[in-house]
C-alpha cells in the first residue's frame, strides 16, 4: 500500500479535517444514531441509579417489555416512513387473539386452525385500512381512528355474545395449545436470564424491516410514497399498493403479537390494547421517524422501543416514587428525542 506516501499531515490540515468530518457526519446523519446515543444515556442513568438494573437477571425482563413494543414499532415505523398512521394498531393486536380464541373455543377445534383464520382476518383488516384510505382519500389518521373504534366495539360485543362474558374463555385445554404455545410464547432460561421468544421475533423483524427499507426497491417505494406521493406516482412507484402492503405488514405483526398474548396469558379481557397504538408511534418517533413521513429508520424504532422499555421498568428498578412514573416517562422520552434531533442537526450542519 501507499500509506507511507500519503501519510496524513499534522492534525488541523485541511485534507485531514475534511475526511474526518465526512465520515463522522455520515455516521451521525443516520436516523438511528441519535436514538442509540439516547438509549446509551438512559442505560447509563439507570445503571448508576438502580442497583438491580445492573444484575443480569433483569435483562430478560427489560428485553421482554421492549420486544412487545418493538414487534409493533417496526411495522408502525415503516408505515410512518410511508407517510401514514395506524391508530387501530393497539386494539387490532387484541382482535387477532380474540378471533383465534373465540373461533376455536366456540367450535371446539384445533387452535392452529384459529391461528390461521386469525391471520387471514387480521391481514383483511390491514387491507381494508389501506383500501379505505385509497378510496376515501381521507387522512389515515381518520380512517384508522374509525377502524380503532369499530374493532374496539367488535372485540367487546363479539366476546360477550360468544362467551357470555367480557373475558375470552381459557384456551389451555383446547387441542394444539402446547405446540402453539411453543411457537408463540416460549421462554428459555439462559443462566439467570429468562429470554422470551418475542425477543427473537423482534430481532428478526427489525433485521427484515431494516433490510427491506435500505436495501430493496420496495424500501425506495416506501420512502418515496411517504416523502412526496404525487411525485412518486409520477415516476412509476405503485403508491397505493405500497401503502396497502404497509398496513398489512402492521396487521401481520399485530397478529404475531396477538398470538403471543393469547398463548402467554390464555384468557384476555376484551377491553385491552387501547392506548398502545401511541406507544408504538412514540417508539418510532423517539427512534428518529418523522411524523410527516418520508424519513426514518427501522433500527431506530427498535431502539426507541428499548428506550421505552428501559425507562418504564428502570423507574421501578430504581425504586423511585411510582406516583411520578408517567412524569419520568415523559421527561425521558422528550430528552431522548432531543438528543436524537440535536445529533441530527449537528450532523447536517457539518
Amino acid at each position: 500500500m501507499t500509506a507511507v506516501d500519503h501519510a496524513p499531515g499534522p492534525p488541523g490540515t485541511s485534507e485531514d479535517r475534511v475526511h474526518q468530518r465526512s465520515v463522522l457526519a455520515q455516521v451521525l446523519s443516520k436516523p438511528e444514531v441519535g436514538a442509540l446515543i439516547g438509549a446509551i444515556a438512559v442505560f447509563i442513568l439507570f445503571f448508576c441509579a438502580a442497583s438491580s438494573f445492573r444484575s443480569l437477571e433483569t435483562t430478560g425482563n427489560i428485553l421482554y417489555q421492549a420486544s412487545t413494543i418493538g414487534i409493533m414499532a417496526v411495522p408502525v415505523a415503516l408505515l410512518m416512513i410511508g407517510g401514514e398512521f395506524d391508530l387501530s394498531a393497539g386494539v387490532a393486536v387484541l382482535t387477532s387473539s380474540l378471533i383465534a380464541s373465540l373461533f376455536c373455543w366456540d367450535l371446539g377445534i384445533n387452535l392452529w386452525v384459529g391461528v390461521v383464520v386469525s391471520l387471514a382476518l387480521s391481514l383483511g383488516v390491514g387491507f381494508l385500512n389501506g383500501w379505505l384510505l385509497h378510496r376515501t382519500k381521507l387522512p389515515s389518521f381518520l380512517v384508522t381512528l374509525g377502524t380503532f373504534f369499530i374493532l374496539q366495539g367488535v372485540n367487546l360485543a363479539v366476546t360477550r355474545s360468544i362467551s357470555g362474558q367480557v373475558v375470552s374463555p381459557d384456551i389451555s385445554r383446547i387441542a394444539g395449545y402446547n405446540s402453539a404455545k411453543h411457537m408463540f410464547a416460549q421462554t428459555w432460561k439462559i443462566g439467570s436470564v429468562t429470554l422470551n421468544i418475542t425477543v427473537l421475533f423482534w430481532l428478526v423483524l427489525t433485521a427484515c424491516g431494516a433490510y427491506l427499507l435500505t436495501r430493496t426497491k420496495i424500501g425506495n417505494w416506501i420512502l418515496a410514497a411517504g416523502g412526496d406521493a404525487p411525485a412518486a406516482r409520477a415516476v412509476g412507484v405503485p403508491v397505493v399498493g405500497t401503502k396497502i402492503g404497509l398496513f398489512m405488514t402492521v396487521s401481520f405483526c399485530g397478529w404475531l403479537l396477538g398470538m403471543h398474548l393469547l398463548f402467554s396469558f390464555n384468557t384476555l379481557t376484551a377491553s385491552l390494547g387501547v392506548g398502545n397504538e401511541f406507544i408504538y408511534i412514540i417508539a418510532a418517533v423517539v427512534g428518529g421517524c418523522l411524523l410527516t413521513g418520508g424519513y426514518g429508520s427501522v433500527i431506530g424504532a427498535s431502539i426507541g422501543s428499548l428506550i421505552y422499555g428501559m425507562t418504564y421498568l428502570g423507574i421501578t428498578y430504581a425504586g423511585w416514587n411510582p406516583d411520578w412514573l408517567k412524569t419520568f416517562l415523559g421527561v425521558m422520552l422528550v430528552a431522548a428525542t432531543l438528543v436524537n434531533t440535536t445529533v441530527q442537526r449537528k450532523a447536517s450542519a457539518r
Binding site: 437477571e57 412487545t68 377445534i109 384456551i171 387441542a175 387501547v274 421498568l313
Partner: protein, 338 residues
C-alpha cells in the same frame, strides 16, 4: 408454455385442495374438550321464575369503562333481577363523570320508573340525581359513594367500602406476619384503588405501591416482575383486580420470588388459583349481588313500598374467599357470576 402454466395451475389447485382437506380433517379430528361445553346454560343464578307484577323500566347508569370484567358481573346481576321481576332494564355506562350525569338526566327525561346509579364522582352526579328525584323517580346507589346516601336522598345503597375492604385485608396480612406487601394499582388516579392500598398500609406500614398499565398484560407482567427483582424483601403481592392477579402469578414465578399472592375481586381463573393454592385468598365484594340488589330493591319499592337497608347502606362485602370456602364459590364463578 401454455401446457406448463396449466399444469402449474392444476398442481397449485391440487395443493390447495389437499391443504383444505387436511385442515378440515384436523378440525374434525381435533374436536377437543377445552372448547365450549355444549347444551349447558351459562347463567342460571337468580333464576326464580317471573313476577306477575306490571312491567316497569329501570335504568342502571354506572361509571364502568367498556369491557370491564367487574362491571360485566354487576350487569349480569342486574339482568338476572330484571328478568325475575318483569323489569325492562336499560343499562348504560360512561367512565367520564359528566357524561355519566348526562346519561342519568337522559333516563329522567325518558321517565323511567327507577334509576340505579354509581357515585364514583358524587359531586358531578348530585344535580342529575336531584333532578330525577324531583321528577318523582326513586334512585338507589350501588358500588361507590355510600357516604353520600343521605345527602342524595337515595332509597338504598349496595356496595363495599373500599377503605374498609383494604383495612380488612391489612388485618389479615398482619395476622399472617406480612412485613412488606406490594400493592399493585392498575389505574393511576383511581380513588377506590388508592383507598384499598391505604387501608392495607394502615395495618402493615411496610406496604409499597406500584402502578402498571392495566390495559396491557405484558406491561403488567414485566412491571410486577421488575419490582420483585428490585425488592427481594416483598413477601405479599396484593393485586386489585382479578385479571392482574392471574398475570401476577407469572411475574412471581419469573422473578423467582417467594411472595404470596392476594387478590381483590374474583373470576373463574382466580377461584381456580385459590383451589391450587397459588392465590392465598381473594376479597369479594360480590358485584353480581350489587347489580341484583339495586334492581330488586327498586322493584320492591315500586310494588310494595319496601326499602332495603332501612335508610342505611347495605354492605355486599368485604367477604373473603379462601381455601376453606372456595369450593362453594367455584361453581358460580364458572358461570361468571361470582
Amino acid at each position: 408454455m401454455k401446457g406448463t402454466t396449466m399444469k402449474k395451475n392444476r398442481s397449485t389447485r391440487k395443493v390447495l385442495a389437499t391443504s383444505a382437506a387436511i385442515l378440515t380433517a384436523v378440525s374434525l379430528a381435533a374436536c377437543s374438550s377445552g372448547g365450549k361445553a355444549k347444551g349447558t346454560s351459562s347463567d342460571t343464578a337468580g333464576n326464580a321464575g317471573v313476577a306477575s307484577t306490571p312491567r316497569v323500566t329501570v335504568a342502571m347508569v354506572t361509571h364502568s369503562a367498556p369491557g370491564d370484567v367487574f362491571w360485566d358481573m354487576v350487569r349480569k346481576g342486574a339482568e338476572a333481577a330484571a328478568k325475575k321481576d318483569n323489569v325492562k332494564l336499560q343499562y348504560s355506562a360512561d367512565p367520564d363523570a359528566t357524561k355519566q350525569a348526562a346519561l342519568v338526566q337522559a333516563a329522567t327525561d325518558k321517565k323511567v320508573n327507577g334509576i340505579a346509579v354509581t357515585l364514583a364522582n358524587p359531586k358531578a352526579m348530585a344535580s342529575a340525581v336531584a333532578s330525577a328525584e324531583k321528577a318523582g323517580i326513586p334512585v338507589v346507589g350501588l358500588n361507590s359513594g355510600q357516604q353520600y346516601m343521605a345527602q342524595d336522598n337515595l332509597l338504598g345503597f349496595f356496595g363495599q367500602d373500599d377503605g374498609v375492604a383494604g383495612e380488612e385485608v391489612g388485618k389479615k396480612l398482619k395476622a399472617s406476619g406480612a412485613q412488606h406487601p406490594l400493592c399493585v394499582m392498575h389505574e393511576q388516579g383511581n380513588i377506590g384503588l388508592q383507598a384499598r392500598c391505604a387501608g392495607i398500609k394502615k395495618y402493615v406500614p411496610g406496604t409499597v405501591n406500584i402502578y402498571v398499565n392495566g390495559q396491557d398484560p405484558t406491561s403488567v407482567q414485566s412491571g410486577i416482575t421488575a419490582k420483585l427483582q428490585q425488592d427481594k424483601s416483598i413477601d405479599y403481592v396484593v393485586s386489585l383486580n382479578a385479571g392482574v392477579t392471574t398475570t401476577a402469578v407469572k411475574s412471581i414465578k419469573e422473578a423467582g420470588s417467594k411472595a404470596k399472592l392476594v387478590s381483590f375481586d374474583t373470576s373463574a381463573d382466580v377461584v381456580k388459583a385459590i383451589q391450587d393454592g397459588t392465590v392465598d385468598f381473594a376479597v369479594d365484594q360480590q358485584p353480581w349481588l350489587q347489580g341484583y340488589l339495586a334492581v330488586d330493591s327498586l322493584w320492591l319499592y315500586l310494588t310494595n313500598g319496601d326499602t332495603i337497608g332501612g335508610g342505611s347502606p347495605t354492605l355486599t362485602g368485604p367477604s373473603f374467599v379462601d381455601k376453606s370456602n372456595v369450593n362453594a364459590v367455584a361453581k358460580y364463578a364458572a358461570n361468571g357470576t361470582r
